[in-house]
Amino acid sequence: MNRSLITTKHIRPPKELQALFDDRPLIGRERPEEYDAFFSAIARAEIPSDAIDWILLKDLADLAWEIRRERRIKMEIIKINQTEVICDLLKSTFDKADRLRSAVNRIFNARTEAHLWASDAETRKSIDLKLTEKGHDPESVLARAYVRGAREIDAIDKRIALYELRRNATLKQIGLRSERKAQKLAKAASDVIEGEFTQAAE
């Protein structure tokens, strides 16, 4: 079950720790209120009782946040590579009737069609069908996209694995203080990682 990020009240740290929490490690379109909702969704599972609890909780939330960020970037990389693969296939795969079109025209159209494939569900369906007939089903397109972005995807996967290791180490550290707390926070963190970001943003 995904944990809702829509919150009525954000959980704030005590005054003496506020400075640590003011400086959020955000990028691009990530918004402070989005991060605060994310943090509160985890914190609500077990309200920290002292400074050690607070910094371990922040660690957990930051790592969960970064895991989601990396997953998003990975998804974008796969999408971009899928579009490139579609574009290449559209350039090289054509019907008999297409032979009449000039090569330049076909190449130009391939890029436009590939972008439409990425943004429009109907176009995607018809292009997928057309390419499947030529022996390039969506699974093989996805596989090619993975191969194409393998280096970048591998680097992201390595970072995600490291963040997950660190998240587990933090949970272990929390578990040394209270096993029950660690279990509740572990569940809350994985719920928000899987949850919908956009809930808080809308």
Binding site: P25, A51, I52, R151, A155, T170
Partner: protein, 131 residues
């Protein structure tokens, strides 16, 4: 494995080296350890002194200690280091904007940052356990 003779030759050659001689060379080598500042312990930077003390005090109180000891300062310093590294990571993402064209460069820089985070993380957890 180098032989004893090679090791002796290397040592002799090293003795002949006097380091950079020109003013520009000396100036550059003076900054060798300060490319991004992460190799330098945050506790030695006066700018972080008050933040470390405040956090160390709060951590000590969590353990029911009235006095701030070395381990609390170590944990506080490592925690601030961790936050600083995460800010730098966000800055790298932000400034290099990971598009397909320069993703390799971003990945390379992030991998270099990783070892500093790994160290700070271990240091922080060890200090907290020992507190």
């Amino acid at each position: 494995m180098p032989s004893d003779r090679q090791i002796a030759a290397n040592r002799n050659n090293a003795k002949k080296s006097t380091g950079p001689r020109s003013e520009a060379g000396r100036e550059a080598s003076r900054r060798n350890a300060r490319r991004h500042g992460l190799a330098i312990a945050i506790r030695t930077d006066p700018a972080f002194h008050d933040d470390i003390e405040t956090l160390a005090k709060a951590l000590s109180l969590s353990r029911g200690m009235q006095n701030v000891d070395k381990r609390a300062r170590e944990a506080a310093g490592a925690e601030l280091d961790l936050l600083r590294i995460r800010k730098i990571r966000a800055f790298l993402f932000e400034t290099l904007s990971p598009t397909l064209s320069n993703l390799a460069e971003v990945n390379d820089k992030l991998a270099k940052l990783e070892r500093y985070e790994c160290r700070a993380f271990s240091r922080r957890n060890r200090a907290l356990r020992e507190m």
